[in-house]
Amino acid sequence: MSDKPRKFKGGVHPNDSKALSAGKPVQDAPLLDKYTVIIHQNIGAPPELVVKKGDVVKKGDLLAKASGFVSVPLHAPTSGTVSLIDKCPGPACVSVPAVTITADGEDAWGDCLEPIPDWPNTDPAILKQRVADAGIVGMGGAGFPSHVKLSPTKPIDTLILNGAECEPYLTADHRLMLEQAEDVVLGAAILARILGLKTAVIGVEENKPDAIAELKKLAGKYNVTVQSLHVNYPQGAEKQLIYALTGREVPIGGLPMDVGCVVQNVASAAAVAEAVLNGHPSIERITTVTGEPLVNPGNWRFRLGTPVSKAIEMAGGVSVQPAKLLLGGPMMGFAQNTLDVTVMKNTSGILLIPVETASQYTAEPCIRCGRCVEACPMDILPATISQAVENERFDWAAQLNVLACIECGSCSYICPSHRPLNQQFKRAKAEIMAARRKQQKK
């Protein structure tokens, strides 16, 4: 592998604003008296609840079991009593089922999974089962069950760990790679063993030199390579990352395994190491709480089910009213309208955007400047598709390959007319998929 990674086409360079929290070491969030854990935290089937109201659980006990292959179990973030099973605000501003656990304050571990210290000589299938049992998902944002990615149906020759963290503001992965480099590299080695590979590549954007240095120190020990990447949003998008590291293009509608790759987030890798070596399931994660309105932004290790209001309190509250509250980064994160939403396995950031920099859509006309075409990492024509969607011509939008869109938001970011391109494409994709489902039914 060459030292210089490839540059993918397009992309944008937003002001990264990472300085707010990049220098802040990860703190363990204090134990709360209540956690509201959203049950469906993964892509795929929701897990099946195995506790009922009044049950006493220990930390790490099963709350819900996987209900199929593309599904992961959910574990209790602390010890206590199941006090309520009801709906709570979900990350998409729609209520979702959740389990509330009233903590007993002891935070005592239950019967955990058996640690596997001798993993280099353990059957990969057992390791893979461990990943599934620990409920690990893609912690970068998508929440796709990790063990599914580790069961490719096509030959794999490359394992990539995604440490790009190209979203502005977010520093959770950066701090993780810096402070828990050993876990990340170990996780990479375990994942490589599961896939039957000798080695893995960790891709990190070159604006995190300290993390790269830290990882490189350990890389040799576990036969893992660390590759610095150009700073260019969306460097951390799966397809762009694979291209940058291997030069392969994942086909539209295809998966990384179609080009012999498996991509895992670095936080997921660290969770894998934790699950294999200590037998701890995925019940906590590092999340960046940041944004200019916050008094004291930083990085925290939160239990699942921590309400956003508590997280903001830990960050010292706000000095001014923010325009938006986001889960995730500013480019692809989800806007929230309540502080009651809770931290999930894929919540990489809790972000408050000030009024001055929050994007405001207007209906200014497209001047066909073509900057979106330049910025599009998937090389489609956002301006033309936008016109098609505006006129509800979804067949045309499909012809223009709107389904290739990865919703990275680069086009909306760059547009001088401030057009809501990304929203239009989301709608178009939804409409096209709905139409196809309808057709299939017929």
């Binding site: 006309p365 016109q387 505006e390 006129n391």
Partner: protein, 200 residues
Amino acid sequence: MADNILTITIGAILVNNFVLSKFLGICPFLGVSKKLKTALGMSGAVVFVMTLASLVTSLIYQFILSKSFSISGTVVNLTFLKILVFIVVIAALVQLVEIILQKFSPPLYQALGIFLPLITTNCAVLGAAELNVQAGRGVIESTVFGFCSALGFALALILFSSLREKLDLAKVPAPLQGTAIGLITAGILAMVFMGFSGLV
């Protein structure tokens, strides 16, 4: 001869474009230009009809109509039948195109609708035949002229239809939507084609 053909070609396609500088064939130009696909089909049909019509009419004119011959002592010259014969020939050709299209491309046949039979009365086709006679062109030159005029028609139609597809997406003020903005666009297009004047 070669030079002449080149002049005819450029003249018919650009300088004296049937639609945009002679303003012939405006009916299908406006009628079938809403979609690029139907415009392409119409263009094909017009090229076919106009080329053949020019060939056949000029053959008939050269070898029958313009000749004077005597039958039982009376000198007969059938030139006065020109328009009648031309129209009959064109109508027959259009009928042929219609039958063939209906068989091989029913969607296009549907899309062209009434404008297909109307090629019969498309003044561009008759105009080409008539202009050939006026200019005293030979059979080959007539055919080339017919073909190139049709190409000019096709060029204008295709350009115009792609513009109209674009205008469909534009926020044109309500009173000007549809044919009105189409005619305005055609006017600007005609101005543009004036730039070619003086080439031949």
